[in-house]
């Protein structure tokens, strides 16, 4: 069985190595980073569905730090390393064209991946905080990587909001430690189970959850996300929207709510309503944008609203829908961001109105954008349709007819702003379309098309994961979530010898 520590140590070590030898050998950052991501992706695919716990230093879980690889972590690992791999392939030529200093880019990239893998694997709340900071600090630097005025401004905004969130989380951890005397998630869950949801624990929980909501950019705390995700290099936008927001925000919330504290009615309602508000408000804001990447960024908030909505419903079918939607969003949002990078690569444009008729010059990019857009708007037979369908069925089953209709309206809204993007950029003309410039456009190089085609293919066949419902591909993660705290305590403490 693979030692889960590899997922943290390998990218970290490679980042050091790249920083060391990147100056002498100019091609080594590309090669090493892609090799690392490829290995990590294969390893995460092998690990999926298995569960193992690695006790670092062989200390018992309450005094040491266990690395817990269960179904939920396994799913997240696949998402992280797959999207990381795709984005790393795309970066080779994209970063070469626009930016200098590739070794620092790949160093920060691998450290982000190491941080995210650490968050997912760690079974200890303080080391989750440490890895959260690792992932966040690397992504602050990556957002400002272009060093232009806008990039730096966005990076600073992101840094300040992220730091406030981190301090809230640290304060929450301190208060939680003061109430339970432990930092291990399973041990905390044990104390919470025996002592009940007492006042100090409740207060600590509120700080933790508000910090993670800022990291997840749900509606009242969303202001940093559109700036950061639209200013970053496109390969980094794909990482940020595709995985960083999900892992640092949603994964931590799921782990805390379902496996540590236990989902109460109040928490479920908070998740439900934050999700519902995010779906519509962020959708309306996305409709008003003129920059292609800002549209996609607001769309991230809106689509992740569905995940919160489904988590708030809380039935097994809804949890399955949440996991499926999260997985699908990690497929089509990076696809769209990478395509916006391809468009930027050829045309140097990000404003929707100035583009047009790209389907004649860039057929692969336009087709894959079409697939991604139809998929995210929930058109059958693409994968986004099935996940939204499941969420809506789950809502109807739970007697939430109003919210279900609300979610359908959100889906129609999504279709409307994506058709605006498609019409202005790819299959029609914007208002300020420039015919002269248009004639010189070509399709992007083949290496940039590999990840795009792979992701588009995943969008088309993604519907097959629905087979067997919540006993199929997503069976393990869904089971791990609904089994609740007692199962988590048992699995962490039970296997220690």
């Amino acid at each position: 069985m693979i030692n889960p520590f590899v997922f943290i140590a390998l990218p970290m070590g490679m980042a050091f190595l790249i920083a060391l030898i990147g100056h002498q050998y100019k091609k080594s950052p590309d090669f090493l980073a892609n090799l690392t991501m490829g290995i990590l992706f294969i390893l995460s695919a092998i690990c999926y569905g298995k569960s193992t716990i690695y006790y670092i230093g062989n200390w018992s879980p309450s005094i040491g730090i266990p690395l817990v690889l269960d179904g939920l972590s396994g799913l997240m690992l696949i998402i992280i390393n797959f999207i990381g791999f795709m984005s790393a392939i795309f970066s080779i030529q994209y970063i070469e064209k626009f930016y200098t200093s590739k070794l620092r880019y790949y160093g920060l990239f691998l450290l982000t991946i190491a941080g995210l893998n650490g968050i997912v694997l760690s079974g200890d709340i303080f080391s989750i905080y440490v890895f959260l900071e690792l992932a966040s600090i690397s992504s602050y630097a990556l957002v400002g990587f272009g060093c232009g005025a806008e990039e730096l401004e966005a990076a600073f905004k992101y840094l300040i909001m992220g730091t406030i969130a981190s301090f809230f989380i640290l304060l929450g951890i301190a208060l939680l430690y003061g109430a339970t005397g432990n930092l291990n998630l399973a041990a905390i869950a044990n104390v919470v189970q025996s002592q009940g949801f007492s006042d100090p624990i409740k207060i600590a929980f509120i700080f933790l959850i508000s910090g993670f909501f800022i990291k997840a950019a749900s509606i009242p705390f969303h202001s940093w996300l559109p700036d950061a995700h639209s200013s970053a290099p496109s390969s980094i936008s794909a990482i940020l929207s595709g995985i960083v927001v999900k892992i640092t925000g949603i994964y931590c919330i799921i782990r805390l709510v379902y496996n540590v504290f236990g989902a109460t009615v109040l928490i479920s309602h908070i998740l439900l309503y934050i999700g519902l508000i995010s779906i519509i408000l962020a959708g309306i804001m996305a409709f008003m944008q003129t920059n292609i990447k800002r549209t996609f960024a607001y769309s991230t908030i809106s689509q992740l609203g569905y995940v919160f909505f489904a988590l708030g419903i809380g039935t097994p079918l809804a949890i399955f829908g949440a996991m499926f939607q999260l997985f699908n969003h990690a497929i089509f949002k990076p696809l769209l961001f990478l395509n916006s990078g391809s468009v930027d690569y050829q045309t140097g444009e990000k404003v929707i109105n100035k583009m047009g008729k790209l389907n004649e010059k860039m057929p692969v990019t336009s087709t894959s954008t079409l697939i991604g857009s139809l998929s995210i708007s929930g058109i059958p037979p693409f994968n986004g349709f099935w996940s939204k369908l499941i969420i809506i069925i789950a809502a109807v089953q739970a007697n939430l007819i109003g919210p279900a209709i609300w979610a359908i309206i959100g889906s129609i809204l999504t279709l409307s702003y994506y058709s605006k993007v498609l019409k202005c950029c790819f299959f029609g003309k914007g208002a300020q379309f420039n015919e002269e410039k248009w004639k010189s456009f070509r399709e992007v190089p083949g290496l940039m098309l590999i990840p795009v085609i792979t992701l588009a293919f995943m969008c088309i066949i993604g519907g097959i994961f629905i087979i067997h419902g919540y006993n199929g591909f997503f069976g393990r993660p869904v089971k791990d979530i609904i089994n609740g705290p007692l199962w988590y305590i048992q699995s962490v403490f039970g296997s220690y010898k």
């Binding site: 301090f167 304060l171 200013s231």
Partner: protein, 115 residues
Amino acid sequence: MIYALAITVFMVGLYAVCCKKNIIKIIQGVIIMEYALNFFIILLGYRKGGIAPIINKITDMHTFAAQSVDPLPQAIVFISILIGLGLLALMVALAIRLYERYGTFDITEMKKLKG
């Protein structure tokens, strides 16, 4: 009372981050928040009349375990101080570059992003 005072210092830092428009003041606010949080965590682990968690030859183990302050919050603060140093370096680098680009530290004049 003593916890509330530490939290008050934290709130002063948060106030600076939220309300000041100068980048240097915002960075100082972040540093103040960090100091206050570290102090708060150490306060949580203090035992009345406690000794430092370092074993010397004179004390025997039972009295040591009964008298020492809580070592785990100190370990947390150790890591948290290191992280704070890294964060500060990045913040200051961003501030220097922002000053080069805009010629000012005033964030209300940095409005190139819209929407």
